[in-house]
Amino acid sequence: MYSEKVMEHFSNPRNVGEIEDADGIGKVGSPSCGDTMDIYIKVKNGVLTDVKFRTFGCAAAIASSSMMTEMAKGKTIEEVLKITRDDVADELGGLPEAKMHCSNLASDAIRAAIKDYLGKSSQEEN
């Protein structure tokens, strides 16, 4: 059902956990829908120096979170914002049609984290 890449990321997920002093946090999904994702980012000079996640959800949701953190880490905010919803699924070697929303969720989560960071930093600037 799942690609090898999905299974690999699911069984050895990268970047699991929280960042205590995160610069941005994105929380998407809802437990009653079967998946929720929290993504934490650390930003330095516009670059995501650290990315971590916690996910409640199926194998696709966990693998998408893991893949997203890997794709985002070390990239600039601009670069990360260019990552589309499908890119995560593509990097995972595809997802079953019914599971594409997991890929979307991961992309939504990182955007939410960046938005959170930008909101905070603009406040700080003020």
């Binding site: 699991v16 437990p31 009653s32 079967g34 998946d35 929290d38 409640f56 959800g57 199926c58 966990i62």
Partner: protein
């Protein structure tokens, strides 16, 4: 890696004795049971002998057994066959909220065709509210269809109470006994049933074969049309190897039912106890004692079922989330919803269904693995 199969509610391995019994009917005794020559008559004899064997398991008469292609077809034949044949008397059907899709989707289809269906709720253990069922009966009710044992949570329904009511009111009573037959005693006369569905592959028989018990005198019509097979109730060349295998499986199930059900109940309770004792925030779904000997449906807070299932699979352990049938659906199980679970709890449930070949050691390994898997997934979960 050793593989441990604990998904016997989805399907079972065919017993080697069953395969043995089937083999001659592929290549040697391969006749069409409708043929008049010796090849055909040989097949016809096996057919009737098998019918007797299947009837014996549920204390029916052979003339009351119609062979079908499986549990789904049996449910379809029972419900549509009764509905269409008795539609002049009425167009109202009563069922429960926790039936198998073979019953629920057949009812939904009949609703589109002009029938009315009442879905009686169940309590927190999954047991049907018999008073509500009685209240639901109308003058135009022609059929009550309530499953014997649930395929997800294993809860056993008060079938005799329901059949008493249906008899009083002169309403046909069908029960989907796909999960119960061969696991707990099923006597159609004692239970007072008019129609009962069985599936071979759930009791170590081959796939693609099943039966519908139809009490003598029941007004029903065929849903598949063609040649004059199975008392004109089910057209199609009889699947003799499948039927012979199914019959052998019923005989084996009958022989070992008492011993197996005792042993499986112990194994199940051991499994449940160990899990509940060793994993925090874990719970049993369904009734603690009025349940199938082999079913343990367990709930783990903060984690999702598919993730648990696949993690266990990587350790060589096969279990399921809800039922195999709904594995492609993303909706939480309709059964777990019906017993009142919140969606996130329904999503965190696993069905472990034991079989006669499972051992204590396997149970231990499964519990250890579950401890591991749940811990690892909770580590990742934002809900903890």
């Amino acid at each position: 890696m050793k593989r441990i199969y604990m998904d016997h509610s989805a399907t079972t391995p065919t017993d080697p004795q069953v395969v043995e019994a089937m083999l001659p009917y592929f290549t040697d005794k391969f006749g069409n049971a409708s043929s008049l020559h010796s090849f055909g008559q040989e097949a016809a004899e096996s057919l009737e002998k098998s019918r007797q064997q299947v009837a014996d398991l549920i204390a029916a008469k052979p003339g009351e057994i119609v062979f079908t292609s499986g549990g789904t077809e049996s449910d379809n034949l029972a419900i549509k066959g009764i509905a269409y044949q008795n539609s002049k008397r009425g167009k109202h059907i009563i069922t429960s909220t926790i039936e198998h899709p073979a019953v629920l989707n057949t009812c939904a289809y009949l609703e589109k065709a002009g029938f009315e269906v009442t879905y009686v709720p169940v309590d927190i253990d999954g047991i049907l509210d018999v008073a509500e069922l009685e209240n639901a009966i109308r003058d135009d009710t022609i059929l009550i269809t309530v499953m014997h044992a649930n395929n997800e949570i294993g809860t056993i329904q008060p079938i005799s109470d329901i059949s008493k009511i249906s008899k009083e009111k002169g309403i046909y009573f069908h029960t989907d006994a796909v999960q119960s037959v061969g696991k707990i005693p099923v006597d159609v006369k004692e239970l007072g049933i008019d129609l009962l569905s069985i599936s071979s592959h759930k009791i170590h028989g081959p796939k693609g074969i099943g039966a519908l018990y139809i009490k003598k005198g029941t007004c029903i019509q065929a849903i598949a049309h063609g040649g004059e097979h199975e008392g004109r109730l089910r057209a199609g060349t009889e699947n003799i190897p499948g039927i012979v295998g199914f019959a052998k499986a019923t005989t084996l199930a009958k022989e070992s039912l008492e011993v197996d059900s005792k042993r499986l109940t112990e194994l199940r309770d051991l499994l449940i106890k160990k899990v509940l004792d060793s994993i925090e925030y874990s719970y049993l779904n369904g009734h603690p004692t009025k349940r199938l000997p082999n079913n343990a449906n367990l709930r783990f807070s903060f984690v999702e079922g598919e993730a648990m299932l696949l993690s266990l699979d990587m350790k060589g352990i096969a279990v399921s989330t809800a039922s195999a049938c709904s594995s492609k659906s993303l909706e939480p199980s309709h059964v777990l919803k019906a017993i009142g679970l919140r969606p996130e709890d329904a999503y965190g449930s696993l069905r472990i269904s034991l079989g006669k070949n499972n051992t204590c050691e396997e149970v231990d390994y499964v519990v250890e693995s579950l401890i591991d898997v749940v811990a690892k997934l909770r580590d990742m979960s934002p809900l903890v």
